[in-house]
């Protein structure tokens, strides 16, 4: 896998847009997870991930270690997500907008209501975590990454990731049991 990523990065650095498209497909979920962990808003996370890939393409020449593409990209996305949060875009968005989360698809009214309540509880529990723990948790449960891979993406050790995940689960369990 890594050699494939490195090869794609080398090709993309030579100007191969198709190779960069492969990298987008490979890392899109991770980018979304990182942005969502900062913003807690799916649409804004999508915007940040999208912008992150464009920035990544524009700055690809600066990447000296192709094997670190994932962590390099996640850092760009994380910075963009912080910028977006600082700009207060979330507060400015019209509340009348219907978000994906607020309208669960399918099912009857009862199941939709249950799903919505569950979603709200989970959202609140996630918001109670610190950003680093939330990032690790979202990468684990959305992207399904191992602690080692999460550590590589976040520039930390797998032991530190495990510690954060354990702590995050304790907090989540406590919040969700309330």
């Amino acid at each position: 896998m890594e050699s494939t990523v490195e090869e794609a990065v080398h090709r993309a650095q030579a100007g191969d847009r198709q190779a960069f498209g492969l990298l987008i497909t490979r890392f899109e979920r991770a980018a979304l997870a990182v942005a969502y962990a900062v913003l807690l808003d799916a649409d804004l996370a999508g915007d940040a991930a999208q912008e992150g890939f464009l920035r990544g393409w524009q700055r690809l020449g600066e990447l000296r270690e192709p094997s670190r593409f994932g962590s390099w990209l996640c850092e760009i996305v994380r910075n963009l997500a912080h910028d977006a949060r600082r700009r207060g875009k979330r507060e400015r968005r019209a509340r009348a907008e219907v978000s994906l989360a607020s309208l669960p698809a399918g099912g009857g009214p009862v199941s939709n209501l249950e799903q919505k309540e569950t979603g709200e509880r989970l959202g609140q529990a996630l918001a109670a975590l610190d950003e680093a723990s939330r990032t690790a948790l979202v990468l684990r449960y959305y992207e399904g990454l191992s602690s080692k891979r999460i550590g590589e993406l976040l520039g930390t050790s797998s032991a530190a990731v495990d510690m954060r995940l354990t702590r995050a689960r304790q907090i989540l369990r406590a919040r969700l049991a309330e």
Partner: protein
């Protein structure tokens, strides 16, 4: 229950994240594919650009405006009133093109506050004077399709100083694709604002485009 699982909440957390984020998948690739080839990675890196473009733009435009005012004052002092009245103003029609672009936004997008970027009529007139007869749209279309020999190239390689993307996703419920495959119908609407800044002239140009697409996300069935 040990520390490595969340019990019954684990699968719900996965579903929660998937429900929120899966609708965003594919956007980055589409956006990248829509990006004109001009935005290549071999362009000057972002960090070499002005660190705070908005502030820099304000400063530069204020400087240009002050300079224009000084020139006008000087012209008033050294020429008679008749020459002033006969001074050509060829850019009136072209300005209308820019106004048209800015006023053509759909009302649903108007709820998004637009950044307060200072305007310099003299600078806008300067940039519109070099645009093709079709106005800014034609210049931008030419840029995306014809490479170096386009209108923007004539402007001295303007710098893209800002790109704001605003989006929303509407869930239009469950539909059946080909009569039997259940899928969620998501309508994505986004709003692109691209602004070019010609450092050499202190001129700016912007384009705002509302876009929309419909995406079907297959719902897994047992």
């Amino acid at each position: 229950m040990n520390d490595d699982d969340l019990g019954p909440w684990e699968s719900q957390l996965r579903q929660h994240l998937s429900r929120h984020l899966d609708g965003q998948l594919g956007r980055s690739l589409k956006r990248f594919e829509a990006e004109p080839p001009a935005a290549r990675h071999n362009e000057p890196p972002e960090r070499s650009r002005p660190p705070a473009p908005r502030v820099t733009l304000r400063t530069v435009l204020a400087g240009v405006a002050a300079l224009a005012a000084a020139v006008m004052l000087l012209a008033l002092l050294v020429s008679d009133g008749e020459e002033q009245a006969e001074a050509p103003r060829p850019q009136v029609d072209q300005r209308a093109d820019i106004d048209r672009i800015e006023n053509d936004q759909p009302t649903q997008q108007d709820q998004h506050p637009r950044p307060d970027v200072p305007r310099d009529p003299a600078a806008e007139a300067t940039i519109t004077a070099d645009l093709p007869p079709g106005g800014p749209d034609a210049a931008l279309d030419a840029n995306e399709s014809s490479g170096a020999s386009n209108a923007l190239a004539n402007l001295g390689q303007p710098l893209i100083i800002e790109r704001l993307l605003r989006s929303r996703t509407l869930d239009e419920g469950t539909v059946l694709i080909d009569g039997r495959t259940p899928a969620r119908k998501l309508r994505r609407q986004w709003y692109e604002r691209v602004e070019w800044y010609d450092r050499a002239r202190g001129a700016r140009m912007e384009r705002i485009v509302p876009r929309e697409e419909v995406v079907f996300v297959r719902i897994p069935t047992l």
